[in-house]
């Protein structure tokens, strides 16, 4: 994405504005200007300008591309309100009154994801797309019932607040700051509901289905609803002139001719196929805190964006098992065609993930694992509430695979995950046996309460050598249980029987797994290859989770070359925000396993609890 630059605009705003406007001044349509445009800024030919409400004039210039030198931004011209969308059926046609939008997701109309067609799920939320006179007061103006836009096609769309920060679109004003802007850009790129409509007497009404949701117990998923409509004069498509819209989290191409696809267009029909695509490369999507624009496109879910409204989308009943992996905000690239889901931990911590349908493992024996997030899902793959009686997911691995963690039953091929509330489990999978003995493929099948409910194909790639299983020659692990829930902490120091160089820490997955004396895992975390960052001399590698990370934040993880040049490596780990309530603090021992790629190190530590009974110290 190319961002607007203030210098560029300063240079071109003056010199190019006249020529750009002139270039855009096509033949003025020979029809009456619709009333919605009364008083609106026009170009040199008298055509109403296309400007989003509350946003300065942004024009892509003669090259029809944003982010190039001929772009024009005029901050003295700001779009007024032309079109407003409301949900929940609160608008009364003919009243002239545009009701207020929902002030919060909790107070917004609720819809079950899936529309009306998918089984035992789904619904539609009523919407009204209302033409406004743009009066400065009230903020959304007054409904304009003029018939001069009758028959014009409209589109109502839904965007999801995937990361739960209270905005749709990139913003630095959330807890994660700029670190998750790419994931937030996905919110603005990906539509989770869209439906065609037709304006009649200044409004279009109907029902909107959505494809994403979150468990009702978690409060659902916040959606921002937006809409737009053509305003041309030539039937049946009316696409010969401009368009009006609510605020959107990006600015789409100004010229419909730059829409990819098309083919055989037909008039808008609420029950017709929507079959157009937007050239994403021609979408204007500035980074937050743009020097000229600020952050006008991030739409808050608090009712303050008066042209938009909100919906609370909840998932359907749990009928499937879904697999996913967390997105890495540092490397994520937004893409409208990419499937991305929100996922809540049982404590409410939000994650943004993408579905996993297949994965690859190196057939190298122990080590070189892969992590999956597993959860009960509705028919669309959304995280779902388990039934009141709870739900049991049984994972069944093929003989050439091994479920490393969790491993409560000692059976590497099976694991039962019990869900009494919405949440997910992190599962670590590895190839079974030794190097190159697993064949080409394996499978991980999941049942939900005994019925087949999901599967992942695992491709095994040849390993380049056998992994080693070494020892943890010395170390200590301290479990500290806090008075406040989910504030428990963990501290690990382990001296691994291998040199730092031999571990190749920068290029291999690192897995740390702890289990109690009964073999029940209570902490597992896998960092993918590339997570550990070396210091300048590569004598240590470090990692820490962002400060915004809630539960289970790795506050410090270090791999350090042992002093005196010994062929040993010291791992130091400090984790906060854990729920270790299930750990038996009277446990006499603890199992510890640390794997880097194909090399695994394990030991059993002897444990002693303190007198207060809130700290368990284990040593070897």
């Amino acid at each position: 994405m190319t961002h607007l630059r203030s210098g560029r605009f300063a240079a071109f705003a003056c010199s190019l504005v006249a020529s750009a406007l002139a270039a855009l001044a096509l033949v003025t349509p020979a029809h009456a200007i619709p009333a919605v445009y009364a008083g609106d800024p026009t170009d040199a030919a008298g055509r109403p300008r296309i400007i989003l409400p509350g946003v300065p004039l942004i024009d892509w210039g003669p090259d029809a591309r944003f982010g190039t030198s001929d772009d024009v931004v005029d901050t003295s011209i700001v779009g007024d309100v032309d079109l407003v969308v409301r949900t929940g059926g609160t608008f009364v046609p003919g009243s002239g009154v545009i009701p207020a939008p929902a002030a919060s997701v909790a107070g917004a109309p609720q819809v079950v994801a899936g529309g009306l067609q998918f089984p035992s799920s789904g619904g539609e939320v009523p919407y009204d797309l209302i033409v406004s006179d743009g009066a400065p007061s009230p903020a959304a103006g007054h409904a304009l019932p003029d018939p001069d836009l009758d028959g014009r096609g409209a589109l109502v769309v839904a965007f999801a607040d995937l990361d739960g920060d209270g905005f749709v679109g990139p913003t630095d004003d959330d807890a994660a700051g700029a670190a998750d802007d790419a994931v937030e850009a996905q919110e603005a790129a990906m539509l989770v509901g869209r439906r065609l409509a037709v304006l009649q007497s200044g409004a279009a009404s109907g029902g909107l289905g959505v494809s994403l949701g979150l468990p009702a117990s978690a409060g659902g998923l916040g959606l921002v609803i937006a809409g737009g409509a053509v305003t041309g004069a030539v039937p049946p498509l009316y696409d010969d002139d401009g368009w009006i819209s609510t605020l959107f989290p990006v600015l789409w191409p100004l010229d419909p001719g730059h829409i990819i696809g098309g083919g055989n267009p037909r008039p808008a029909d609420p029950f017709g196929l929507v079959d157009i695509e937007v050239d994403y490369e021609r979408v204007f999507r500035p980074a937050p805190r743009n020097p000229v624009l600020g952050t006008p496109f991030a739409i808050p879910l608090d009712g303050s964006s008066v042209t938009n409204d909100l919906v609370r989308a909840i998932s359907g009943p749990a009928v499937a098992v879904a697999f996913a992996r967390a997105l890495d905000p540092a490397t994520f690239v937004p893409d409208p065609s990419r499937s991305v889901l929100p996922l809540d931990e049982s404590d409410g911590t939000r994650h943004v993930v993408e579905p996993v349908r297949s994965l690859s493992l190196v057939d190298d024996g122990p080590g070189g694992t892969a992590s999956l997030l597993v959860f009960p899902a509705d028919v669309l793959g959304n995280q779902a509430d388990p039934p009141a009686a709870g739900a049991a997911i049984e994972l069944q691995a093929s003989a050439n695979l091994r479920i490393v963690a969790p491993d409560a039953d000692g059976d590497p091929r099976r694991e039962t995950l019990a869900f009494t509330e919405a949440g997910f489990a992190e599962v670590v999978l590895d190839d079974a046996g030794a190097t190159n003995d697993g064949g080409a493929q394996g499978q991980l099948v999941a049942t939900l309460d005994g019925a087949a409910a999901g599967a992942v194909r695992v491709t095994l790639t040849p390993g380049t050598g056998g992994g080693t299983t070494g020892g943890i020659v010395r170390g200590s692990t301290v479990v500290k249980r806090a008075r406040m829930p989910r504030k428990d902490a963990l501290r690990v120091e382990a001296h691994l029987d291998a040199s730092l160089a031999a571990l190749a820490a920068a290029s291999r997955d690192l897995t740390i797994a702890l289990e109690d004396a009964a073999g029940a895992p209570f902490y597992t975390r896998t960092l993918p290859a590339g997570s550990l960052v070396p210091n300048r001399r590569a004598t240590s590698f470090g990692y820490r989770d962002p400060a915004s990370t809630g539960a289970g934040r790795i506050a410090q993880l270090m791999l350090v070359r042992a002093p005196m040049g010994a062929a040993r490596t010291i791992l130091r780990l400090r984790v906060t925000g854990l729920d270790l309530s299930a750990v038996d603090l009277a446990s006499p021992s603890m199992g510890e396993r640390i794997a880097l790629g194909t090399d695994a190190f394990q030991a059993t530590l002897a444990c002693v609890a303190n007198r207060a009974g809130n700290i368990l110290t284990c040593k070897r």
Binding site: L155, M190, G209, P253, I259, S337, P355, G381, A452
Partner: protein
């Protein structure tokens, strides 16, 4: 003799249309204008891969990857749309509405054409649990097969009845475990 599959998407230009639809499903404000002018006429039905699994109890789960009008299905109902799994003359038909029909017909033994679909939609009887549609999103559909499907070759096809026309996708072979 194998019938020629008169797949709507085998016609000239159909590939480009499908590719465009698969590449970009996005729309919005100008999308609004453009969508408003560009309602489509034919559903997208494209299979790119199929896979089959079995659980420890012997239940078989089939997944079909590709593209179909998922976003439209969230908005309104087609008269018929779903996935067909065929093994010899046996078939199981999974509507996205959750209805599952199984049956046998020589119609399916050598491929399915759009012209055969109206007849096929009237054949068969409701399948019993655990046969069901498990999951559907914009990239994948997964279903549980009837128990009398056996290990070996099978095929999967997407189908749709939209307005007055019938459509079938390309067929993808799968090997049932």
């Amino acid at each position: 003799m194998k019938k020629v599959n008169r797949n709507r998407y085998a016609r000239p230009g159909g590939g480009r249309r499908i590719a465009a639809a698969v590449l970009a499903i996005a729309l919005a404000v100008v999308g609004a204008t453009a969508r408003a002018r560009a309602a489509g006429t034919s559903p997208v039905l494209l299979l790119t891969a199929g896979d089959a699994f079995s659980d420890d109890a012997g239940a078989r789960l089939v997944t079909a990857s590709g593209a179909f009008n998922f976003d439209d299905l969230v908005q309104f109902s087609f008269p018929a749309v779903g996935l067909l799994v065929v093994q010899g003359a046996r078939f199981a038909r999974y509507e996205v509405s959750g209805e599952v029909v199984e049956g046998s017909s020589p119609l399916v033994a050598d491929g399915i054409t759009p012209a055969e679909l109206p007849t096929l939609l009237g054949i068969g009887s409701a399948a019993a649990s655990p046969v069901r549609l498990v999951h559907a999103d914009r990239g994948e559909v997964s279903v549980v097969l009837p128990a009398d499907f056996s290990a070996g070759a099978a095929s999967i096809v997407l189908y749709a009845h939209h307005e007055t026309e019938y459509f079938v996708s390309n067929a993808i072979p799968v090997v049932l475990p």
